[in-house]
Symmetry: C2
């Protein structure tokens, strides 16, 4: 099993597409993502699964049965990466689900409810500022009108990107699946943190952090860098530097208080205009990512930033581009799988996911659960991202157990 | 004369090329600059001047004579703008020189030494981080090897840009002119400051500030914005925000001391990598512009920044992309022109130029002088840049006087 999983991880993470220093650029709705999906289809078909594609390009690899209850027992994840990402965020969950199917086939298991492995399209917010597009479409959370105009760094709209891969925008809404079409959903993912590492190989997730994402626009005034006295400037970048530090300092302050869940806030995007060596920056746009399972902490930081913004000599607008409440996963599945894992382990940590995942959309329509495996030094969204193949295999065994338990009518 | 100057200002500042809110984008070695040069040629030929072009595209509009002394009495400026620039920085000096020729023609003046109006190519550092490329080539200061690889924001090299306008890179060095080819040079420019405004319409320049330009690269570490605890980050943008503020604060500190010339420092460029909403910035590159006639003050700030850079938990490199000493203009020309202007005015301010200009290169090879006219609120490198046509006309009269005085053998 080890070598099979290793082999398939390499098949969906083509070395030819890897930038040696910067990592993968397998962004959603690019040819690279589509190529990875083709490899998923190939592996699934080798396993004897029948592969279907929905109207936005999500793949469903199915082990069909003639059971009366045709609700699918589902598991899966995504294959896209951030810019400069690693080989495990998403891919580990997809390959582990396929590996679970292989385990069941090898032992001659016969499911009652049909099983399926889902390979979602664009999960990372990297490209368009909105995440989990594929699972949003499947769960009926796809906002056709507002999403159509989302643009990537090259000015390509989401609509154009989706259609560039052969799908019709006006048909995307048909990717929504009926409540009675899925029995339950389960996702394996690398933790992207340091809570499991060195302690155990598997953790059960109870909740998924969802972000507030702000676009802060600071309007100061252009001017000549040589002739405008320091005391006569309205330099938007100097003001931005104060906001960047306040995001950092206020978040540290909040975390020094007693809270069950931590708050993370990052000014992860900055664009300065005109960004010319001899012109004082007249305008700066910041992208701020704010996360916690505790939605109140997110609100506290946003309110603080809105307040402080009014204290500067500039026109500052604070817009919520993304504003989603955190999601608590299905207790039944969590407890069942925790007990299952506990059979062979002394300790089974229950922890929250500090990143958003496709499972958060699936949970809104179907009972869903999530499994974490460790990743080295907690590093993710980086070429240094790494997880043990052994841990993916252990995860696959848990997914196999999930398929078994849930496929019984 | 007023309507002629106004008309010609409009001819070199085509409204069709004006972005109503952002201003002009007539960058050096673009089709827009070339189009403006074509209009210069047209106006010059209407005045009966013979126009020559050198190997980098500088134009010389000449009033030729059969005097034994064939050294040209020169005056001129440039027509390129920064990104989001105004209609007067450069253009005012070009049109005023042409207007001076018209005044002399109208009064039937017969020059001894030949006269010329120079329209330089790329003066603004905006596009390639290096300024006054055209006059550098004319004065023999063109560094062919290091300049060839300068890149603009779109990755186009200076060599490619020059050749895109029809010039041969290997011939550019031939644009250098012999010491005996020019008798003297004079440039009119808007002040780009507030020292003349409301006091008088003309000022005489004694020195030109030249910049030190730093490229500061901060190497932190990428990471997932949701899963990397605030206390476990090496966020390059947070470190950059400290440097941006230190540039501001230290420069204000230095200016609070007693100095003849002020210091200006601006973080005018910033690029963050990967600049993705869900990734902690792992790398930030800053462009810092530092100016003062007092070269010691520039050095003090650079040393301060180099020292503080070593105090952060990141690899920070500080590289001097530009490192030029300030230039003092020819005393003879300055005094002659100051006395000339004083004939009709009570006060003639003598002030330094806080921006670099083509004259600083010309002074290195030929006796050169400079004349300032006010610009509203001191605003420049901005669409709000504005100068009175009356002041351009008064400047044209001074240039005409300069041509007369210097053309006499």
């Amino acid at each position: 099993m080890l070598s099979w999983v290793k082999d398939k991880m390499l098949q969906v993470n083509l070395v030819e597409d890897l930038h040696p220093k910067e990592g993968f650029y397998r962004l959603g709705f690019t040819d690279l993502e589509t190529k990875a999906h083709a490899h998923f289809v190939q592996i699934a078909e080798e396993l004897g699964l029948k592969v279907y594609e929905d109207e936005i390009g999500n793949k469903m690899a199915r082990w069909e049965t003639d059971c009366e209850d045709q609700r699918y027992v589902s598991s899966g994840s995504h294959l896209d990466t951030v810019s400069g990402g690693g080989a495990y965020d998403g891919a580990a969950g997809v390959v582990a689900s396929l590996a679970a199917i292989k385990l069941l086939k090898d032992e001659g298991f016969k499911p009652e409810r049909p099983l399926e492995v889902i390979c979602f399209r664009l999960e990372e917010a990297d490209r368009f500022g909105v995440s989990t597009i594929g699972s949003k479409a499947m769960a009926g959370l796809f906002d056709e009108n507002s999403f159509a105009h989302l643009k990537d760094a090259n000015g390509i709209t989401l609509k154009e990107a989706v259609e560039s891969q052969g799908y019709k925008w006006e048909h995307v809404k048909n990717a929504e699946r009926d409540t009675n079409d899925i029995y339950s959903f389960y996702e394996l993912h690398i933790e992207q943190g340091k809570r499991l590492e060195g302690i155990t190989d598997l953790g059960v997730v109870d909740a998924v952090t969802c972000p507030i994402r702000l676009e802060v626009t600071i309007e100061g005034e252009n001017g000549h860098t040589g002739t405008t006295l320091m005391t006569e400037r309205r330099d938007a970048l100097v003001i931005a530097s104060h906001i960047i530090q306040e995001v950092q300092e206020e978040t540290l302050r909040i975390n020094r208080e007693e809270h069950k869940y931590p708050l993370m806030a990052t000014v992860s995007q900055i664009k300065s205009f005109p960004n010319s060596i001899s012109v004082i920056p007249g305008k700066v746009v910041l992208g701020i990512d704010i996360r916690s399972v505790d939605d109140h902490l997110k609100e506290r930081l946003v309110n603080h930033l809105e307040k402080m913004s009014s204290t500067f000599d500039a026109d500052i607008s604070v817009v919520r581009k993304v504003n989603t409440s955190s999601v608590f996963l299905d207790e039944g599945i969590r407890e069942t799988m925790r007990k299952e894992i506990a059979k062979t382990r002394d300790t089974v940590p229950v922890l929250e996911s500090r990143a958003g995942h496709d499972v958060m959309n699936m949970q809104k329509k179907w009972p869903s659960g999530m499994l974490f495996i460790p990743c080295r030094d907690g590093i993710s969204h980086s070429p240094r991202e790494y997880a043990e193949i052994e841990h993916i295999v252990e995860g696959a065994k848990v997914i196999a157990a999930y398929y078994k338990l849930k496929s019984i009518v």
